[in-house]
C-alpha cells in the first residue's frame, strides 16, 4: 500500500513537473521580445551560449575526427578500401556524431551554466524582482536564452563536423597516406545533402530544443538553495544526455531505417 502511494505520488509529481515545464516553454515561445529590446539580449546570449562553447566544440571535433580516421583506416586498409575513409568519416559525423556529441558537450558546457545562472537568479530573488517590476521573466530571461540555444547548437554541430572532417583529413591523408583526391571526391559522391546533412541539422534542432528546455526548466524550477541549484545542475546534464541519446535513436529510426 505504501509502495503504491509512493508510486502514485511520484507519478503525479512527474506529470505536474512536465506541465510546469511545458507552460514555461510556451510562455517563452509566445512572449517574443520586441526587436528593439530583444535583439541585444539575444545577441548577448548567442555570445554567452554559442560563442563561448566554440573552443570545446572545435577541440573535441578535431580529436574525434582524428580518432575516427585512425580507427577507420585500420579496418578499411585490411580490405584495401582505405579510399572510402572520406565518406565513412563524413557520414558518421554528419548523421550521428556531429549532432549527438555536440549536444552532449553543449549540455555539459552551456546547459549546466544556464541552469546554475537561472537558479542563482531565483535564489537571489532577481526573478521575483523582475515580476514585481511588471517584467515577465519568461520574456526577459528565459526567451532570449532559449532562442540562443536553439540557434547556436545546429551551427556548433556543423562546425564540429567540419573541424572533425579536417582532423580526419590530417590523420588519414597527411599522416597515413590516403589519396587526397579520393578522400574528397568519394565523400562528395557518397554524401547526400537531403538525407545526410539536412537530417543531421534536423537532429541538431531537436537536440537544441530538448537540451535548452531541460536546462532552463531545471534552473527555473529548482529549490533556491545551494543544494537545490547543485542538484538541478547535475540533473540538467544527466537528463539532457539521456534525452539526447533517446531522441537520437528515435530520429535515426525515422530518418534512416527506410
Amino acid at each position: 500500500m505504501d509502495f503504491l502511494q509512493k508510486l502514485g505520488h511520484k507519478t503525479l509529481s512527474r506529470f505536474a513537473s512536465l506541465g510546469r515545464s511545458t507552460r514555461m516553454l510556451i510562455g517563452a515561445l509566445v512572449n517574443i521580445p520586441n526587436p528593439r529590446k530583444g535583439t541585444p539580449l539575444l545577441i548577448r546570449q548567442l555570445y554567452m551560449i554559442g560563442h563561448q562553447s566554440l573552443l570545446i566544440i572545435m577541440v573535441s571535433g578535431l580529436f574525434i575526427g582524428m580518432v575516427l580516421a585512425l580507427q577507420g583506416y585500420t579496418v578499411l586498409v585490411g580490405y584495401g578500401a582505405e579510399d572510402s575513409l572520406g565518406p565513412l568519416v563524413a557520414l558518421s559525423l554528419l548523421r550521428e556524431l556531429g549532432p549527438v556529441v555536440t549536444a552532449l558537450l553543449f549540455a555539459g558546457r552551456a546547459g549546466s551554466a544556464l541552469t546554475a545562472e537561472i537558479g542563482l537568479m531565483k535564489a537571489t530573488e532577481q526573478l521575483s524582482s523582475l515580476e514585481m517590476m511588471a517584467i515577465d521573466p519568461l520574456k526577459r530571461v528565459i526567451a532570449p536564452r532559449f532562442w540562443a540555444g536553439f540557434i547556436s547548437m545546429p551551427i556548433l554541430a556543423l562546425i564540429f563536423s567540419a573541424v572533425a572532417i579536417l582532423g580526419a583529413h590530417l590523420v588519414g591523408v597527411d599522416w597515413l597516406g590516403v589519396d587526397s583526391g579520393s578522400f574528397w571526391s568519394i565523400m562528395q559522391a557518397q554524401v547526400s545533402f537531403e538525407k545526410d546533412i539536412l537530417n543531421g541539422i534536423i537532429k541538431s534542432f531537436v537536440f537544441a530544443l530538448v537540451v535548452t528546455w531541460i536546462a532552463l526548466y531545471k534552473g527555473y524550477d529548482c529549490i533556491p538553495t545551494s543544494e537545490g541549484i547543485s542538484k538541478a545542475t547535475t540533473e540538467t546534464v544527466v537528463h539532457s544526455s539521456l534525452a539526447v541519446l533517446g531522441f537520437d535513436f528515435l530520429l535515426t529510426a525515422v530518418m534512416f531505417s527506410g
Binding site: 529590446k37 537571489t124 532577481q126 524582482s129 514585481m132 517590476m133 511588471a134 515577465d136
Partner: protein
C-alpha cells in the same frame, strides 16, 4: 482630543491603498492566514510585524499578486489583485514596488544600469533623460558616487540603498520593504530608517514595511499591524501597540524569550530524553 485622533485614524483607513479582506492562505497542509483583514492607509508608513516564520513576506507576495489567497480578497487602490488579468496585474505592479531582503540587484549590471532598468523597460525616455532621473534617484539614496560599481562591489547596506533607488525609479504609489533592516550595522540601519521616512514624505508615497526590528520601525511607523497565530493580533499607532493589553503583543514588542510564544519547541520531557538511550 482622543476622539479627534480616532477620527483621524478612521479617515486614514477609509483611504486605504491596500485592503486585506478575510484572506485565508495555506501552504500545503499548513494554514498561514485564516480570515485575516487589515488595511494599509494611503500616504503613511505602515509596519507589519510579527515573530519569524508567520508569513510576513508571504503577505507582501500576496499584495504583489505573486501568490493567490485560497479565499478572501486583496484590494490595491480598490481593484482586486487576485481577480486581475495578467496584463492588469502588470499594470498595477507599475504603481507598486518592492525592496527585497537581498536587494535582488541584477548582478550583471552596474548600479546605474540597475536603477535605469525599470525606466528603460517601461518608459520611452531618451537616454539623456534616463541619466538625469537615475542620478537624481542615486543622489536621494547617497550613492551617486557608486553609480559605476557592480553589485558585487557593494556592502550589504549600499546594495539595499541601490535597490531602494531602483524601487523608486518609476515613482510608485506603494513601496513594500521586506525586512529592510535585517543584517545591517547600526549606521546602515540609521541611514535606511531616515531614507524610508524622508522618501515617504518627499515623494508622497505609501510605505509598507515588513520587519521584526521593533525599535527602528516604531520610530517611523504611523500605523502598526502585528500578525501572529494566523491573523492580526493588534493594529493601531505605535503608542497604542506599546500600551496593548495582549500578552503576545507585549512579548513580541519587548522581546521576551518566553511567554505565549514558548522558548522551547514542543518536545518530550527533558528528563526522559536524557535518561532514555537513543532518545533525542
Amino acid at each position: 482630543m482622543a476622539k479627534l485622533a480616532e477620527l483621524d485614524v478612521e479617515s486614514d483607513l477609509s483611504q486605504a491603498i491596500v485592503e486585506i479582506k478575510d484572506v485565508t492562505f495555506s501552504r500545503g497542509e499548513k494554514t498561514i492566514y485564516k480570515n485575516m483583514s487589515f488595511s494599509v492607509p494611503k500616504g503613511k508608513i505602515t509596519a507589519i510585524m510579527g515573530p519569524s516564520g508567520i508569513g510576513k513576506t508571504t503577505m507582501l507576495r500576496l499584495i504583489g499578486g505573486q501568490l493567490k489567497p485560497d479565499s478572501g480578497d486583496i484590494l490595491f487602490e480598490g481593484a482586486s489583485i487576485p481577480n486581475m488579468t495578467r496584463s492588469a496585474l502588470y499594470d498595477a505592479r507599475k504603481n507598486m514596488s518592492m525592496l527585497f531582503q537581498s536587494g535582488a540587484l541584477f548582478t550583471d549590471m552596474s548600479v546605474f544600469d540597475n536603477v535605469a532598468f525599470p525606466l528603460r523597460e517601461h518608459t520611452k525616455l531618451s537616454e539623456e533623460l534616463i541619466r538625469l532621473v537615475v542620478l537624481m534617484k542615486l543622489q536621494a539614496v547617497g550613492l551617486r558616487g557608486a553609480s559605476e560599481l557592480m553589485p558585487s562591489e557593494l556592502s550589504g547596506g549600499m546594495a539595499r540603498r541601490a535597490a531602494l533607488a531602483r524601487a523608486i525609479a518609476l515613482d510608485p504609489e506603494l513601496i513594500m520593504y521586506d525586512e529592510p533592516f535585517a543584517g545591517q550595522d547600526p549606521i546602515s540601519m540609521g541611514v535606511l530608517v531616515k531614507l524610508i521616512k524622508s522618501l515617504n514624505e518627499v515623494l508622497g508615497l505609501s510605505s509598507l514595511i515588513v520587519t521584526h526590528d521593533v525599535t527602528e520601525v516604531l520610530s517611523i511607523a504611523e500605523h502598526v499591524v502585528i500578525i501572529a497565530e494566523q491573523g492580526v493580533i493588534g493594529s493601531g499607532t505605535a503608542e497604542e501597540m506599546l500600551a496593548h493589553s495582549s500578552p503576545l503583543v507585549q512579548q513580541f514588542l519587548q522581546g521576551l524569550s518566553d511567554g505565549p510564544v514558548p522558548f522551547h519547541q514542543p518536545a518530550s520531557p527533558y528528563e526522559d530524553a536524557l535518561l532514555t538511550k537513543g532518545a533525542r
